[in-house]
Amino acid sequence: MKRLTLITLFAFVLSLSASTLFAADTFDLVIPLPLTGKQAKFGEMMKKSYEIAAEEINAKGGVKKKKIVLSFEDSGAKPETARAIVEKLIDTKKQPLIVGEYTSSCAKAVAAVAEERKTPYLVVASADDDITRQDYKYVFRQNAVNSHYADGLVSFIKNVVKPKTMAILYESSAFGNSGADAMEKDAQKIGAKVVLKEKYEAGSVDFKPLLSKVKATRPDVIYMVSYVMDASLLMKQIKELRIDAKLFAGGAAGFAIPEFIENAKDAAEYVMTASLWCFKMKQPGAKEYAEKYKKLYGDYPSYHGASAYSALYVVKDALERAKSWTPDGIRDALRATNVSTAFGAIKFENKEGYQNQNFMDTIVLQVIKGEHECVYPDNIASSKYIYPIPTWRERR
């Protein structure tokens, strides 16, 4: 028994010395993520994407000859847990840089900790406007904020559709409200009159009363902010009522995922939606990453994965340029970032009241022959948009 303890002790000491010995050759990065709970699906996707990126970087010699070693901590999408994880990482592990999290509430909590402890934090997929509007000097965000989410779509509407009237339907939640308010402002900017702006209870069975009211106002554009099941029901019932508009548009969320097409079937055809990323867009690296992901895990990733994958390249770029691998050294390097990634070009700017925010072109997807295609802006489009769209009567 005594001998066994001795051997274990010896092995332990050996492994300890080994790990300190090799520490010089690696860069350890612990990433907080939701791996359980409601958001686990996205957390998983991001974890897989970080891993793909790390593998690629290490295969090409790592960062300054050091291998990136990733590990993950589950925050369960709970801000208090995320906060505790990050405090531990900064205070005891002395990690000079924080990357990760998904939900906006967690990212907010993490940003506060990072700023307080003067450690740079790269936000990957949290869209709440406030995160980069608080005069934080150590918080960087590479994904677009909520109020700029539909920029691409708005520019399409302005340049191609040129509508006189618009109807906005949205679910009665914080997400629906902010999306609808942003679009209302954008509509005024491009000279379209909002003839109807109405909310509905998510999970409603029958939208037809609301839709017949929409029909009576004959809007040029019908813009909807909904999650996937409401989005499918809305389009199905629009088809049933034969409401013809020049454009049916969705504010991402429910409209941009494949389940929307599966559920709404032919009613989904020609519907456009704002999005941040699509594996079909002409962005160097996007397709390669998506195919690799599909080969490994069986389906295509959404923008969450692409952003996570690219975040590690942003980190690699910053680490290579950083004068020292201290929090401040890395922060200065991040500030000067100007790279092209699979997610898009990334550059952190201070403007419109945001600090260290990346302003990217958001894209427009259209459902063409039962598949989402990237149709706008033209330079990255995977296929030409279909406009004007046929009326419901013609579609039979």
Partner: protein
């Protein structure tokens, strides 16, 4: 009234009636159980959810049309209802409890267990049965070319409505013309008198619970082609059934039909003329108004008049 306004009004009424017919079928099951057993079954919506999952599995694995799956789901729910009544609710009914309504609390528990089992088996993802005829509709202008207004009648909604009518008619026939139906009604009217007349009250209760479950089960099968499915869907339909039961009068099947139609039309009208965000408010307004002004439900109004004559 311009033709556009007329169109909106008529289309709203059509949707309201179609929705109301389906609501009625959900409500009847609850009101039947309420009438015979004097308890509110708060697992009602969850039973509907179970039937919808049966329809979903039949559709996705064996390509059975959701409407045909009524033939399997309704009997399955009948058996489930009988088992619940026999082995869970009846024992609790017999026990002397601190709170008199402990069987109601038991039904809440049953509902939670059912919802959680569904989450474990099917995960909390949304499920649908994408049928080919999901967005098929009939249009007035196809039949009458010069029509000044355009009205549409959705095919799956109409089919669901008609099937609901058939089921309701069959139930009415069962309750009024068959021996067992009469026994059930006797039990509902006066349990002790029925017992003295030789009705097997215990058995009638079991059958009623099964019947109520089968009814809401078939409502589930009618809902799934036009809606979708997730484990927590039960609550909102329990609520609707509850409002209809109160509105129609406790234990009155005709009342439940009228109550369902009123609720459907009222919800549609509020959605059109007050805003769709107000629809849940409208539902509770009806509920409170019914409790204050017609505490016995709609059927009590008819009864009073008949007595007056």
């Amino acid at each position: 009234m311009t033709s556009v306004q007329l169109e909106v009004l008529l289309q709203t009424l059509i949707s309201g009636l179609l929705l109301g017919g389906l609501y009625a079928l959900i409500g009847i099951g609850m009101t039947l159980i309420m009438g015979v057993m004097k308890i509110i079954n708060l697992a009602h919506g969850e039973l509907m959810m179970v039937a919808m999952y049966i329809a979903y599995v039949l559709f996705s694995s064996f390509h059975v049309d959701p409407y045909l799956s009524i033939l399997i789901a309704a009997p399955a729910l009948f058996i489930l209802g009988i088992l619940l009544q026999k082995y869970l609710i009846n024992p609790v009914l017999k026990v002397e409890a601190i709170i008199p309504e402990n069987q109601v609390i038991l039904t809440v528990g049953i509902g939670m267990v059912l919802a959680n089992i569904a989450t474990i088996i099917f995960s909390s993802d949304y499920k649908t049965t994408p049928v080919d005829y999901a967005t098929k509709a009939w249009y007035l202008s196809d039949y009458w070319r010069e029509s000044p207004i355009e009205l549409s009648l959705s095919m799956p909604w109409s089919v669901s409505f008609c099937v609901a009518l058939v089921i309701t008619a069959a139930l009415w026939f069962f309750l009024t013309k068959t021996d067992m139906g009469k026994s059930i009604r006797a039990t509902a009217q006066d349990k002790d008198a029925a017992l003295l007349m030789g009705v097997n009250v215990e058995r009638m209760r079991v059958v009623t619970f099964g019947l109520g479950s089968a009814l809401v089960g078939s409502a589930g099968c009618l809902f799934i082609p036009i809606y979708y499915l997730y484990p927590d869907l039960g609550g909102q339909f329990t609520l609707i059934a509850f409002v209809i039961t109160i509105l129609g009068g406790l234990g009155s099947t005709v009342g439940a039909i009228i109550g369902g139609l009123i609720l459907g039309v009222f919800e549609s009208l509020t959605a059109t003329y007050a805003g769709m965000g107000w629809a849940p408010v409208g539902r509770f307004m009806i509920f409170v108004a019914a409790l204050i002004f017609v505490p016995g439900g709609i059927m009590s109004l008819f009864r009073k008049r008949r007595l007056g004559k």
